[in-house]
Subunit: 278 residues, 2 copies
């Protein structure tokens, strides 16, 4: 399939994988957030993903994908996952999807891409931390109002995300050349079973490895660290124990959403390298 | 969204709806047939659905969608649903999706569309009954080998499906102007709750109304009648009873797949008329 179709399927497989503690999955809705909104978000994002596969600028394709997602899902289902996928889809449209090609794609982003990124925040609600010191003029919560400051400073989208790498797991992937993403794809390829189940296993392993930055934003660093420790203790546990952990996080409304974004990107890499649901 | 995106979403919502007795759903895989293969089938079918939305002939768009589905899912997940959706997507691409426009779209099919339809059987395995008397030369199980006989007889795709209307629920929808499909869409629009759940409710009601022709093909008329009677007894039953019926059908490997095809088409009609997952 073309890279945009694989990216859409990766979003669907990520959503379907279960148990995926703290996230909506095949077996769990979260209050008013339903599994089917993730299906709608994935389908709605497709035109933007198609643009990325055809060589559109990363920022423009990302904004288009977020607008389509928000319109179809009616909420923010996959903002972070699309920020991961858009450059990876563009890279895959240009040739084999290697860490080098992914890194050079994000490094080549421009100030115009950064402006698109800020516009994307106007399409949906995104949970964000305070910006780093000295960066309040480019706080993404300001949306398009921050664009003049961006232009003034000459910041590319890569620059903006590099600034956020300490506080946001998706930004950290951009800054590091998608290191955890490619690692998790290797892991998925080594496992057997349905691909969505392997995505859920990769999610748990990623969560065990590093605190989820969305949990940090919403519940603080201490809670995020505890969640990762509990995940680490369940890596070889029977499914029932992981299910119980999943139910507990849902109950506490703790949602490791950034880790899910990285898992979606890892599923995309695995699909590009030949994994399939067939 | 454009009609092709809505059709893809309808396939995903149909697959996700639960409990949907006898079919793979969000909570049930069937032996080697996994939920994620339905996700892959829906994404793989998209290029053919795009063709239909852009005005391609029904047969050609159908064959393309089946080829993409089979390639992505590795099996026949949605052959019948695509045979329902392709003409409806083409009709929706031309204007408001009314029963009249749907009927005139299928009535306008040609011998070339019929030939495409026969070629589609070469992409995947489809469970089929014996053809009606005097029609063994155009038995769809012959695949493309039956095309010369089709041409000889001058049969359009509409003619071919009209011949099968007594033994196949999808063919009956073509022949009747999608009567049950539009009825089920009305029903979905009258209900409340997540759209995929309403799709599952419509599935149960359709199953209660008429024996499933795939169950007839695989298990005989008597079994199909019993399944529909049991469904009719559960129309206002608590979910637990429907879940138990679902588990029982899975155990007996009874799969009312044709009813699911009609439910997918009904979800598509409901989406075109303004329902959404948002």
């Amino acid at each position: 399939m073309n890279p945009a179709a694989d990216a859409e399927l990766a979003l669907l497989l990520e959503a379907a994988g279960t148990p995926k503690p703290g996230n909506v999955d095949r077996h769990r809705d979260h209050g008013d957030l339903h599994f089917e909104q993730f299906l709608g978000g994935a389908v709605g994002a497709r035109p933007g993903l198609d643009d990325a596969a055809e060589g559109e600028r990363v920022g423009a394709a990302f904004e288009e994908s977020v607008a389509g997602m928000a319109d179809s899902a009616g909420t923010n289902t996959q903002f972070g996952a699309l920020l991961m996928l858009t450059p990876l889809v563009k890279a895959a449209g240009e040739g084999e999807l290697t860490p080098e090609r992914a890194a050079s794609t994000v490094e080549a982003t421009t100030v115009a891409d950064a402006a698109d990124f800020y516009r994307a925040f106007e399409h949906t609600d995104v949970a964000l931390d305070d910006p780093p010191e000295g960066a309040s003029d480019i706080d993404a919560r300001r949306g398009a109002d921050a664009i003049p400051a961006l232009r003034e400073r000459g910041l590319t989208l890569f620059d903006v995300l590099e600034l956020g790498a300490d506080s946001d797991g998706v930004a950290a992937e951009w800054a590091s050349g998608f290191e955890r993403t490619f690692d998790a794809a290797d892991y998925i390829e080594r496992r057997s079973g349905p691909l969505s189940a392997r995505g859920a296993e990769a999610f748990l392993r990623l969560l065990a490895e590093e605190p989820d930055t969305l949990v940090v934003t919403n519940h603080g660093r201490e809670t995020a660290r505890e969640v990762s420790e509990r995940a680490a203790g369940l890596l070889d546990a029977p499914t029932g124990k992981v299910e119980a952990f999943a139910d507990d996080l849902v109950e506490q409304e703790i949602n490791p959403g950034t880790t899910a974004d990285i898992a979606a990107a890892a599923l995309f890499v695995a699909l590009r390298r030949g994994e399939s649901v067939a």
